[in-house]
Amino acid sequence: MLKVETPLSLEKIAKLRKGELVYLSGIVYTARDQAHKKLVELIKRKKALPFSLKDSIVYYCGPTPSPKGEISGSCGPTTSLRMDGFVEPLLQEGLKGMIGKGGRTPKVKELIKKYKAVYFLAPSGCGALLAQKVLSKKLIAFKELGAEAIYQLEVRDFPLIVGIDSRGVGIYEDIECSNFKT
């Protein structure tokens, strides 16, 4: 078990190994399908981004609205694979970490190695548990997307497992799973 704080420096990332249990504290930004599409369009058009991607972490998540008296609604991970086509431009802007669920394409594994980044798995379907680890939630951009907007979450001891480490080595390599052995 390892405690890691954001921002993610190269030094912190280099130590992480696939399969390791990590408790993450600090800032993560939620972004899923439509937010990724928009971010990549902004990058391509060389427009200003709603938050700095340098050394940052994106969390593939669309939280439920926060009920009265709760900091965050349920906020578990969504399937990472759908974001795979958008990963490289974000890495070029300095993105260092991704949090989601499930395997990635071999291409993303190569990119993670190339840009020295890391991919974490969050407990699938455990949005209520993860909501307890959120200290603050702030809408950052793309309000018009509802749950698909970008939220800044400040988290404490977010339980994660290293899915693909900075050497490009993935946890699912040993598992018999026909589609994506990442």
Binding site: L21, T64, S74, S124, G127
Partner: protein, 279 residues
């Protein structure tokens, strides 16, 4: 009448989203006890803790509060009309909104801001029951995306059907949030086979099939699936599925449709009765 429907539907929506079905939870706890793989056991412990927190705090078990489905069954002498169905759909939408459940529904092409409109219902009748029964079934889309349909030749062997189901599970992999509950529909036409596969998921999963042949097929499939070593979160171990449920229907001499509809571990549904429906 509208108020009564909303009150009952609201109960179902809340129960489905906040408290995991007992039959599902019992199987998860059992799997936790039997699991030897350390990482898989940790993932199962997260699931168990998550279910407890959701129930205690009235939080959605999963942030994907699903594509809300309604399985409506009209009993003896119940008059079902379009106004009643509209009422049920609207009640589900309203209940989702007032309970802080995620708006996840968009236009298929233009996407845009997700809303609540678009609840889909399946209507059926059963002369053995009284009143009206509604099952609210929030279907998570991570697992829904792994749905499979195959139109087999009528002369194939059972083994080919089994292999098809196993392949569907392998392809679903960690993304669809194992341990799964696997619904299988065999027979009918193409859409009916998939309907049966989904309907199998709203029925109890902790009891063996009443049909002996199907019960043994379910058992064999579950054993094969749990030897795939996918496990909770894809971390390995022997808990890749909690149950396999098969439903069948007569089919055409020229074909043999097989539908597979997978549910993530968070199989959420709740049944309510609405009694004072006009008759």
């Amino acid at each position: 009448m509208e108020k009564e429907i909303l009150a009952e539907i609201d109960k179902a929506v809340r129960r489905a989203n906040f408290s995991l079905r007992r039959d599902v939870f019992v199987l998860i706890e059992k799997a936790y006890k039997l699991e030897k793989n350390k990482k898989a056991k940790l993932a199962l412990s997260w699931i168990i803790e998550n279910v407890k927190i959701a129930k205690k705090k009235n939080l959605a078990i999963c942030q994907d509060t699903g594509f809300p489905l309604g399985f409506i069954t009209g009993g003896k002498k119940v008059k079902v009309d379009s106004a009643l169905i509209e009422n049920i759909k609207k009640s589900i939408e309203l209940s989702y909104k007032r309970n802080y459940l995620r708006a996840s529904i968009v236009s298929p092409f233009f996407r845009g801001k997700p809303g609540y409109k678009g609840v889909t219902v399946y209507l059926d009748f059963n002369p053995k029951i009284r009143g009206l029964e509604v099952v609210v079934f929030p279907k998570g889309f991570g697992s829904e995306n792994k749905t499979k349909l195959k139109m087999f030749n009528p002369t194939i062997s059972f083994k080919e059907i089994e292999d098809f189901i196993i392949t569907a599970i392998r392809e679903a992999g960690p993304q669809a949030c194992p341990p799964f509950i696997v619904g299988v529909g065999i027979g009918g036409d193409s859409s009916y086979a998939l309907y049966l596969a989904k309907k199998a998921l709203v029925e109890r999963i902790d009891k063996p099939n009443r049909d002996k042949f199907l019960a043994s097929l379910e058992k064999r499939l579950l054993r094969r699936i749990n030897s795939l070593n996918i496990g909770p979160m894809g971390l390995g171990g022997k808990t890749t599925a909690l149950a396999v449920k098969i439903k069948t229907h007569p089919t055409h001499i020229a074909g043999l449709p097989v539908g597979v509809n997978i549910s993530c571990w968070a199989l959420r549904s709740a049944r309510v009765k609405i009694n004072n429906v006009k008759s």
